[in-house]
Each structure stands twice: as C-alpha cells, then as structure tokens.
C-alpha cells in the first residue's frame, strides 16, 4: 500500500528542474471537448495539467480552487466557453464574476497572479489548449513551486469569505 | 520550391530564377500557403554566392561583393561609384551606353564622386567581425 499523502520535502522541487502541477477545471461542452480535439489531432503539449470535468465553468466553486492550492497545486486553470457561447446561457459569466473576486482575494493572500487563470476555449480550439497550457507551465516554471500560506487550511470547514458571498450576488 | 525541398541543390543554386528576384515581397503577401518565398530567395542567393554558382561576369554577385566592400570600408554607399565599379568589373563596354544618363545625373547634381563615409568606421569592422565570430561559435 502506498502512502498516498506523504509529501516530498520542498528541497526536491527546485526551480528550473521543477515541474509545476496544475489542476484544470474544464467545462464539458467547450474546453473539455477542445482538449479531446487536441487529443484526436495529436497536438502535443506539456503534461502538467490534470483535468477535472465539470458540466459548466459556472459550477467551479471558489473553494475548489482554494482547495487545490491548499493541497499543493502550483496553479489552477479554469476553462469555459467563450462569452455568449455558454451551453447554459450564462454560466461562464457567473464564473467570470467569481474569478475576478477570487483573484483579488488570492492577491491578498500573496498568491501570484499567474498561478490562477481563466481561459475561454471553444470546442473547435484544440490548438489553443496547447498554447494556453504551455504558456501557463512556462510562467509557473519561472515562478517556482507554490508554498501554501496556511498549511492547516481546511477548505470544507473554513468559514465563507465575505467577498465570495458578494460574488454570488 | 519543390526542387529545394527534394534536395536538388545544384539545380536550384544554378537556376536563373533566384537572380530574377528583386525582393519585392509580393510572393510572400500572395502565397496561398504562407511560404516565406522572399526570405528563401535571399538564402539561396547567399548560398550561390558563397559556392560560386553563377556565370562569369555575372553582375548581381559582383554588385553584392562591391556593395559589401564599400560598406566595410566606408559604412555607407555612394551609388554612382558603386555603379561604375560594377560595370567596370562585368561589362566595361556598356559603360559607354550610360554616358547620357551620367550626364543627366551630373547636370542635376545627383552624381557624387567623393565617398560618403561615416566617422566611426572602425565600429563597422568590429560589428561585422563579431557576426563572423558568433556565426562560427554557433556552427560548432
């Protein structure tokens, strides 16, 4: 049995040789399909993103993002449909509003801007998946590993941030 | 294009087409497959000059050589001198045919004989030598 929670020491994750780990939240109608298209087109890109499929970028709760950082992600990428193209009419706008506030909050926590990104990638833009992911990996390589400000952060029990409530309004 | 892709080096370098190119870039703008034709022509001309793939007394390579010599020496070009030098080296008898033109230029004050020079000519030599050094370093 592996001990799947044992973290390596930060010493082994040196900048330069360091491979960032990125969690992606892709909407199933556009960006997830675009990633599938990149696959069927055999477009090659950096292997650093692990994708979680959601029905809509509007489903991405800011807590998911915080949880990813808390568990050691070096970056988080949300992919949704272009404005006006949402399969559910306006889920991506809801996502965008939340992301704007979340970005401000992350900045207050000292998390660099490049670590959290929202991209509109339509189902036809397989190559854009490559461009975005490669670009993000490059930027994160330059930034180096992410050190969580509060190791004990528990996303589920944590109180809601005031700003996040605003975001919902 | 096809010949160079398929590796027919001699056929390409000795072709007349590369010298017909005036580098007007029209091909690059119009090319339906976005091929940088003009840039390729430059590269082919360079190769042809380096490897001497051109007929004797052929004017274009001579022009290029003279051009570069003048730049190395003065940093600038004096067109009238350049033209005379090239003709002398390729077909001096044609010089006669240009008499009328020369007179016209002279009349309108557009013919100059004193060389255009820059002040810090040593910088140009250093600059050009440095390119040679880096090129060799890159080749290795």
């Amino acid at each position: 049995m592996h001990d799947e929670n044992s973290k390596p020491t930060n010493g082994t994750r040196m900048p330069g040789s360091f491979e960032p780990r990125i969690v992606g939240f892709f909407c199933t109608w556009c960006t997830y399909l675009a990633a599938d298209l990149a696959g069927t087109s055999r477009i090659k890109y950096a292997p650093n993103v692990r994708v979680i499929r959601v029905m809509c970028s509007g489903r991405v709760d800011p807590q998911f993002v915080l949880s990813a950082f808390a568990h050691g992600a070096d970056g988080v990428l949300i992919g949704g449909c272009h404005p006006g193209d949402c399969h559910y009419q306006k889920g991506n706008y809801n996502c965008l509003r939340r992301v704007r506030l979340l970005k401000r909050m992350l900045a207050q926590l000292g998390i660099e801007e490049d670590r959290f990104r929202l991209e509109w990638i339509s189902a036809a833009e397989g190559d854009r998946v490559r461009v975005v992911i490669n670009d993000m990996v490059e930027k994160l390589r330059a930034l180096g590993p992410f050190h969580c400000p509060a190791e004990s952060y528990n996303p589920v029990a944590a109180p809601q941030q005031h700003e996040l409530e605003e975001a919902a309004v | 294009m096809h010949l160079s892709r398929e590796g027919f080096k001699e056929e390409v370098l000795s072709s007349y087409t590369i010298w017909l190119c005036t580098c007007c870039y029209a091909c690059m703008v119009e090319c339906p497959k976005k091929i940088n034709i003009t840039h390729l022509m430059y590269a082919l001309k360079t190769r042809a000059i380096q490897e001497h793939f051109y007929p004797k007394h052929f004017a274009i390579p001579v022009l290029a050589e003279e051009f570069s010599r003048m730049i190395r020496g003065s940093g600038r070009i004096t067109e009238s001198r350049l033209m005379v030098m090239v003709l002398l080296k390729t077909a001096f008898w044609k010089l006669l045919g240009f008499g009328h033109l020369g007179l016209n230029l002279l009349r309108t004050g557009r013919m100059r004989f004193e060389r255009e020079k820059i002040t810090r000519r040593d910088e140009i030599t250093t600059l050009l030598d440095s390119v040679e050094v880096t090129r060799k370093a890159l080749a290795r």
């Binding site: 592996h2 109608w29 696959g39 809509c56 509007g58 489903r59 559910y88 | 119009e30």
Partner: protein, 669 residues
C-alpha cells in the same frame, strides 16, 4: 455483502480499476502495466486489470464478471474520453446489476497518451488521474435517469435541397414537419443551376417536383420568408418562435396568376433580380422565379413606391380585384410551435470574388462568378440560355479560374470540394453551346466521386484546355497587339514550365463555398458548436456526422462543410432517420445531473434564484427555502457553486466528490 447497486451506496466501497491499452493508442505512451499495478495499491481497490480493448464485448464482459464474482460496487475505467464511451461502460455496470452511476472514467487517451511524448510523464499523469478517480468514485451515489416524453413534430431550418429532402422523408413517415426558409421560395442554390454534374441531368427537372411535393404535402407546414427567432427547451420538447416577415400578399389568397406584376406602375423591372444574380431586373412586386414554391408573389418593401410616398396608384391591388390578396398594412408575425427535434440545413454562401482584387471581379465587366454563369446558360435565365458578354457578343475564348477563395491562407484554407466538378460542367456546357475555346486553370484536379473522373476524361477528349497553375492575375493590359480589348489571364503553366498569358473574352471565377455570414448567430440560437470559420460541428466526424452536442438538434448538408448535391441529400436522409429514431422512441432519458436543495441547510438567502438561466429555482414563501424544479433544471451546477451556505448539491458533481478528486490528484504517491 456487496452493495446491491440499487441501494443507497452506503456499503463499504469495493473498487475495480480497469485500464485499457486501446491497441497501441494508449499503451504506446502510457505504461499500462505499471499503471495497473499502481492502481492495485490504492485504498479500497479490490481488483485492477489491464485489457487490450475494454470497450469490446469481452472487455465489458470482464468488468461485468468481476462485479459479480468479487462483489465490486465502484468501477474506474481508464481509457478514452467519457464523452466517447461512458454510456458503454455504464451499460456494463447496469448488466452486472449495480447502479450505472457508480462509474468514473479516466481519460488517459485524448488527455494523456495522444498529447504527450514522454512515457514517464504520461504514466505519472495517468497515475494521478486514476488515483483521483478512485477517491471520487467512493462517494458516488446511485442515480436514476429521468424519462421525458417526446413531441413527435420536427422543425427543419433551410429549404434547399437538403431541407427539402429531409422534410419529405419525415413527412412521408407520417410525422409533421415545420419547414422554415428565409427566402421567399424554397429551392436554395440548386434552383439556380442549369445542369448537375456528372450526369448532366437538368437541375430543375429533378428539383421542382420535390419542391411542389413539399408545397402540397399535408404533413408539411411551409413557412418561407421566415426565420427562427428563438428556441428554448430541451431534447424532445423544444419551443420555437418563428418570425414571419410580411410579404404584403396573403399566401392563402394569392393564386400566383401574376396579374398584379403585369399591372405594376413600373412597366419595366428596375431592381436587381436576386434569383438571376442581378443579371436581370425585376419589379417591386414579383414572383422569385417561375417554379417558385409557394407560387405566391411578394412586394419588396424597399422598392415599392407605396411604402415611400403612399401615393402609388396601386394598380396591383386593382388587378388583384376581389381576391384582395394584397395588403400594404401587413405586419411581421410570430408563430409558436413545439417540436421534439430540429434539423439545421442552412447551407452555404459563395465566396465574394471582390476579395481577390487581382482577378478583377467588379472592375472588368466580363469577369463573372460561376453562379452568374449558371444563370446565363440556363434556359430560364436572363438571356434565355444564350451565353453572351455584357455587350451582347458571343465569347470565343473563355477562361475558367479554379479555386477562387479556396485553398488559400489569405482567404479560406479549405478546398470547397465542388468547384472542380462544376467548372468541368460549365466548360462542357459552354463548349457544347457556343463552340468557344475553354481554358481551365487549376491547381489540382479533384474529382473523387462516382463517375467524376470519367467526366474529366470526357472533357479532355472534347478538347477543353487544361492549364495546371494558379492564376496570378486577370488584367486588361495588352502587351501584344493581339491582346487588345481582351482580358489577359496570367498563370504559370507548371506542366509546361513557363508563364502563360491567355487572352480571353470572358473570365469565369469558380468561387468557393463559405459558411453563411450569420452562422455564428444561428449556432448560438440552437446552442451547437461550429468551427472557427463557421461550419457547424458534428458530434463525431466519423461516427456521428449529423448529430450535434445538443441532443435533438441535427445538421445536414453544406452548413457542416462544403458538399455536393448527392452528399447533401445523403446527409438529409441520415438526419431525417436520426430525428425519426429519436421521436419514434416516444420518450427520452435525461442525464440525472440535476441540482437539489438540502432544505435543512438552506438559509433562504435567494442568492441562487437569479443565477439559474432556466428559472428552475423558486423560493417557497411558506418554508423560506429555495426549491429546484428538476424538470426544468439542465444540470449546469452554477447554483451549487453560488450557494453561500453550500446547501445546493448537484448529482454526480457534488462538492465532496470534486474535493475528493482535487485531493486525489494532488496527493503524492
């Protein structure tokens, strides 16, 4: 005891992990064996296996057997995209007697093996994904698909040959069709053509009977001069609003006698006749063309003097007499219908030849587009089928320029597929009717199709000239006295190896096919995808060519990509069959990804109510709680992410499930 699968999912999880080789598709880049061995060590994993093709019958059977033998109650399949085979594997779970939603798929093909090159990195990524799935699947709850009845009527958008064929197919099976066409008549591009390649049968002879059949069919409601204004609902139950532009003539009263046209105060036509590509003139009141369906005239609002001054003598109304079909006060109207399925057959437009200025279209009067020539050689066209130049002379030399606007990074990159063949057809017809010398300038001759290459052979025998080379320019600058007054086509003859100047009387530009200019608006309206250029995107390029990612919406014909008539008709048939298969099933199963409110946690803040695009959330005054109407909910999950107290949960995308996936991805092994 294993969970019986249909229970509440509370039994201790016992996970089976299955890793697919997909032949070499996955195995070439991901170390499948290592991955499987790794999976064996993950918590709660009872069985982990690797297999060549899991989606095959024996592959599915392997999973089913394991579920029965080992009492597995959660399954992870690491193979291709869930959008491809999730239904397949859910079926395997169902057959084994456990709830099909106890499955989580891991996409190690499209997202891993096909996009990465390093075997080590790809295998490491696959491990992370499998670990996350194994964590997540433990939390899966049993779910039921919802069954919804299907409305058996079908909406078809676009009345070209594709829409016509689809409409007749469905109507003949006894189902009702609403056919909506933007132009005042159906027929589309095919109605312009004289002959069709390669058999040279007359386009009108094969098209007009079908048009008439549409007009007369009891199961078809035909709305021309109309557009879909709005559509809402979901597969099986769409509500559609159709905007009907005013014809100023009542379709039910007009008998198509055209006496009004005759009587119009304009004795001669003065406005460009759309049907003849502007090569002839029509009056403000007109019938689009003699075989138009419906055979009803209409009034051009922008041309008719009555709309400008209100002082027209209205001789048309007089001529109509007691039929009283003409009404200048007619207003736009909206029709509302309910349908179960939609077929989009909105077709294409031709490339605007003005964009390639070097071919001189719009500058030199004797440069024509292929569509204009179709009209000029058509017996019902402006010249009665006589091919003539603008000054009335007969051309003796004709040049046809292929690939205009196609296969060019500066305009459209694609091959328009039909131009080679229609150019050959035009060359044949021109040669046959005028005896002119015809030059075809082509890049490559593309004639894949039944009888197409044979047709090309036939033209070679007929003495038509073929020059292989992309035309550089069309000019009127003579270099040689023999070129005076002619158009000069300049092209490198790549077979001869030199540049040729061919002086001709008439130049025909074989313009390519483009998506309709409003393709993107139409796509948004119907919630489907399209390529960057505007071609509608099929669900799968090989296996679902007429389906879209929106269930119940199908595409057919040239709106999906350049296509000739046989291909368009074949797709029309396919789309009709798909639509019939859907509505004949009587009901449809909907994914159960809906949201629901956990009442005890809801604080009644109403934050969720406005974010729902479907008005599926309402606030119940008595309980002071929100409530989700699961029939209206489409399962985007935005409300779940919005709820400040975390009291809305979305099936299969619950907070805990996603948190588990995040943690699983990032847990170091």
């Amino acid at each position: 005891m294993p969970d019986d699968g249909q229970g509440n999912g509370a039994a201790a999880p016992k996970i089976g992990v299955y890793v697919c080789y997909c032949g070499t598709n996955i195995a070439a880049t991901v170390d499948v064996h290592e991955l499987t061995e790794y999976a064996k060590g993950l918590p709660d994993v009872a069985v982990a296996r690797e297999y060549k093709y899991l989606c095959s019958d024996p592959g599915q059977e392997l999973i089913r057997q394991d579920i029965c033998d080992h009492g597995l109650n959660r399954i992870v399949v690491a193979s291709c995209s869930p959008l491809m085979h999730e239904p397949t594997f859910r079926g395997a779970l169902f057959r084994a007697g456990i709830n099909p939603f106890f499955l989580q798929m891991v996409n190690i093909r499209e997202h891993v093996s096909w996009v990465h090159t390093s075997r080590a990195a790809a295998t490491a990524k696959a491990k992370d994904l499998v670990r996350a799935a194994a964590r997540r699947v433990r939390l899966h709850q049993p779910l039921e698909k919802r069954k919804v009845e299907i409305n058996p009527q079908v909406l078809i958008v676009g009345g070209g040959i594709t829409g016509i064929h689809a409409a007749l197919t469905i109507a003949n099976s006894g189902k009702h069709v609403y056919l909506v066409e933007r132009q005042p008549t159906i027929g589309g591009h095919m109605a312009y053509f004289d002959k069709t390649f390669p058999t040279l049968d007359c386009a009108a002879c094969i098209l007009t009977p079908k048009m008439t059949a549409v007009g007369a069919h009891p199961n078809i409601t035909l709305w021309t001069y109309s557009e879909v204004a709005a559509i809402e609902g979901y597969v099986g139950n769409y509500k559609v609003k159709v905007r009907r532009k005013p014809r100023y003539v009542y379709e039910d009263l007009c008998i198509g006698c055209q006496e009004c046209v005759e009587a119009c105060i304009y004795k001669e036509g003065r406005w460009a006749d759309e049907f003849n590509q502007g090569l002839s003139k029509r009056k403000p009141i007109y019938l689009p063309f003699p075989q138009a369906v419906p055979q009803k005239v209409l009034i051009d609002h922008d041309a008719c003097i009555e709309f400008k001054s209100g002082k027209c003598k209205k001789t048309c109304v007089e001529a109509c007499g007691e039929r009283m079909a003409i009404d200048f006060k007619m207003q736009e109207s909206i029709e509302e219908v309910e349908v179960g399925a939609v077929i989009l057959a909105t077709g294409f437009k031709t490339f605007d030849a003005r964009r390639n200025a070097y071919y001189g279209y719009g500058t030199y009067p004797n440069v024509y587009t292929s569509l204009e020539i179709e009209r000029l050689i058509n017996a019902s066209g402006p010249t009665g089928g006589e091919l003539m130049l603008r000054n009335g002379a007969k051309p003796r030399m004709v040049g046809i320029v292929h690939c205009v606007g196609s296969r060019d990074h500066n305009t459209n990159r694609w091959c328009s597929k039909v131009c080679c063949m229609y150019s050959l057809k035009l060359a044949h017809l021109i040669r046959e009717r005028t005896g002119a010398e015809v030059y075809n300038f082509y890049i490559d001759m593309r004639t894949p199709g039944k009888g197409y290459e044979e047709f090309y052979d036939r033209l070679l025998d007929e003495g038509v000239h073929f020059v292989r080379g992309r035309v550089a320019e069309v000019t009127d600058w003579p270099v040689h006295p023999s070129e005076e007054g002619k158009l000069i086509i300049r092209a490198e003859d790549t077979l001869a190896g030199f540049v040729r100047r061919v002086a001709v009387d008439m130049v025909i530009l074989s313009v390519g096919l483009e998506p309709q200019s409003d393709a993107h608006e139409v796509r948004r309206l119907f919630n489907i995808s399209c390529s960057e250029e505007g071609w509608f995107l099929e669900r799968h390029p090989k296996l679902a060519p007429v389906s879209t990612f929106t269930d119940g919406v199908y595409i057919a014909g040239a709106c999906q990509g350049p296509k000739d008539i046989p291909d368009s008709v074949a797709q029309a048939g396919a789309a009709a069959a798909e639509a019939l298969a859907l509505i004949d099933a009587k009901y449809v199963e909907l994914e159960p990804y809906t949201a629901h409110v956990l009442e005890e946690a809801c604080s009644g803040c109403k934050t969720c109510v406005p974010v729902c695009p479907y008005q599926a959330i309402s606030f119940i005054e008595e309980t002071k709680k929100a409530q989700v109407n699961e029939v209206l909910c489409k399962g985007c999950g935005t409300c779940a992410a919005t709820c400040p107290s975390g009291s809305i949960s979305q099936n299969l995308f619950e907070d805990q499930e996603i948190f588990a996936e995040v943690e699983g991805l990032l847990a170091y092994a």
